[in-house]
Symmetry: C2
Subunit: 364 residues, 2 copies
């Protein structure tokens, strides 16, 4: 099922490197190509856990919010307490509508007192921010800048990054950033990334620096066994990293997604009343790790329903077979009545009915 | 370059039919699969011009705007005069930001006095409408309903539609609709579609009706040589049908896109002042049909720059070789200095420099 070429589905500054490295499949994310497999899901996962990989995650497009009203807008569209955000900080922010429904779960990067980037999951959150700002007449400029994140992930990420950006990388704390030099420019380098194997995200400002940086990191990491990789479906499910559009959508609240701890704003943000009601009542359903018995299963293209005593009590939205744990690992959304760890459920898969176990914790 | 499966990139109600019909490539459009080729671009185009095709265009997702303030919101986000929209009418509406920049070019469908659908091009315009409505506290519900357009296109579309929906289809005027029955439901059936070969779009409400309708149309049209098709890259370029994201983006105004005639609203819509300035000054550049000399060219994945005397004067964003016209047909955006019909330019393609001719009119 090949992807048809067009300008609308954008290539990234790193696409030449990704193609040369032999990407075998892609998805489309924020109107942009995102590689999904290089050798195989299993081999990519094993390598990620032992070495270091470069990930073309340029599709994490930035929404730049800049101007005198930038912080005011951020406080309005963020359930998280923006007032406490430090100058070098990245905040994971579940963005919600007035009913508390998830619109995106970006990472906000504070670029200055009056300047923020939102590093997006897969929806045009720019249009939400722009709609709110336009209707309120806020003095703020909202654009998609020429900024393309490149992730360096895996246990040897630190060693590789030091060789290219210097020892200062060791001082970057989790979800903090520094501006570090590369070929006469400085890039935001944050300790973050969509795996639990450790690493950094480099916000490459200026598409023309993409391949030079890609090549520099490859050249510096040869003896570290660096290779091209991408967000890995197995590792991210083991780690409980949610994918907006797959595991949660506008019909879900941050509390259902286990993201309640990021909803601590004292401001009058959009969705405040709805989220307060959700706290008072408790969510009806919640994201849970689910272990599915039997032979390895493929990736769902739609929900797989969970049943108990013939009644649907939830759904599974992401599945992969984990070689390390020897089971099918999955992310589900389970009703309150059946969300306790240890609950045995049944799941309808394209390969027939299977046993499914609600777990206490994700695997990584 | 296969598409990796996920729930995030959604299948449509017609996907089983599309796969069975042998779709060879897909793109992703509004987070949903859109087939792009069945036999070949050339064979698909020739068939479309002679027979009738069913197109899975479910990816034209609907934004439903419903409630007491629905028309107020529509007047705010539409440069087109919504006050003149009849009860059975479809309006092509270039939606713009405060600077007049294109955000999408949906077809608005008036479903009632207080109810509209926006049938989208490829951007989450729901978030724009929702942002504006939320910030202003409008009394309106904005959702993505379970509505999936199925297009029936080609010269025999009328004959096929009559067999399934009855002779009333003949009475549907261009960009008007009727609600016609199918298996105990009624669907909006409009005379519209993303080709110039004539036909209809059926707004299938309820995913479970997708394949029954698909199958009914196939069964009824066997002697009409009905087959599965899709928006065809050759035919749509010959016809000058623009693709949002490829041929125009937020950096373009409707006047640059040749869509000025759709900006006639007397209301205080968003972007009004900017568009008035554009009218006063005239656009700096405009969409033009461009003929590229030489051997057949492939599809651009990025802009191909147009040059005159060594200076860039425009760009081409969509290209296909047209067997019927025997040339490479293309859609370009050309600066005022060089947009006159008959102007000879040079274009940089992946196959080298070619001659390019600015034409007066598109081919179909």
């Amino acid at each position: 099922m090949p992807v048809f070429p067009s300008r609308r589905v954008r290539e990234t500054p790193f696409t030449p490197g990704v193609r040369a490295a032999g990407a075998k499949a892609f998805t489309v994310y924020n109107h942009m190509l995102l590689p999904t497999v290089f050798e195989s899901l299993e081999a990519d996962c094993a390598h990620l856990k032992r070495h270091v990989q470069l990930w073309d995650v340029a599709c994490e497009r930035q929404v730049s919010i800049k101007g005198p009203d930038a912080e005011r807008l951020m406080r309005l569209i963020s359930p998280r307490d923006i007032g406490r955000m430090q100058a070098d900080q990245c905040y994971y922010v579940p963005c919600v509508d007035a009913a508390g429904g998830m619109l995106n779960d970006p990472v906000a990067v504070r670029r200055g007192p009056d300047h923020f980037w939102l590093s997006l999951a897969d929806s045009d959150l720019l249009l939400w921010a722009l709609g709110v700002a336009t209707a309120l007449g806020l003095d703020v400029e909202i654009t998609e800048p020429d900024v393309s994140p490149l992730a360096v992930q895996g246990p040897k990420a630190e060693a590789l990054m030091e060789r290219v950006f210097g020892p200062e990388v060791h001082d970057i704390r989790f979800f903090r950033y520094r501006e570090l030099p590369f070929e006469g420019r400085t890039f935001v380098v944050a300790r973050s990334g969509w795996s639990k194997q450790g690493g950094f995200e480099i916000y490459v400002e200026g598409a023309e620096y993409g391949m030079p940086l890609w090549d520099a990191l490859f050249a510096a990491g040869e003896d570290l066994n660096v290779r091209a990789g991408c967000p890995n479906q197995i590792e991210r499910i083991e780690s409980g990293l949610l994918s907006y559009g797959s595991d949660m959508r506008r019909e879900n609240t941050p509390y259902e997604c286990g993201l309640g701890r990021f909803c601590n704003s004292p401001d009058e943000f959009i969705g405040r009343a709805a989220l307060a009601r959700e706290v008072a009542n408790g969510p009806k359903r919640i994201i849970r790790p689910v272990e599915i018995a039997g032979e390895p299963l493929g990736t769902p293209t739609n929900v797989w329903p969970l049943f108990a005593d013939g009644r649907q009590v939830g759904q599974v939205t992401s599945v992969a077979f984990s070689p390390d744990f020897g089971v099918n690992v999955a992310i589900g959304m389970v009703d309150r009545s059946h969300w306790d760890a240890g609950t045995q459920l049944e799941i309808v898969t394209p390969d027939g009915m299977r046993q499914a176990l609600v777990r206490d914790r994700f695997w990584n």
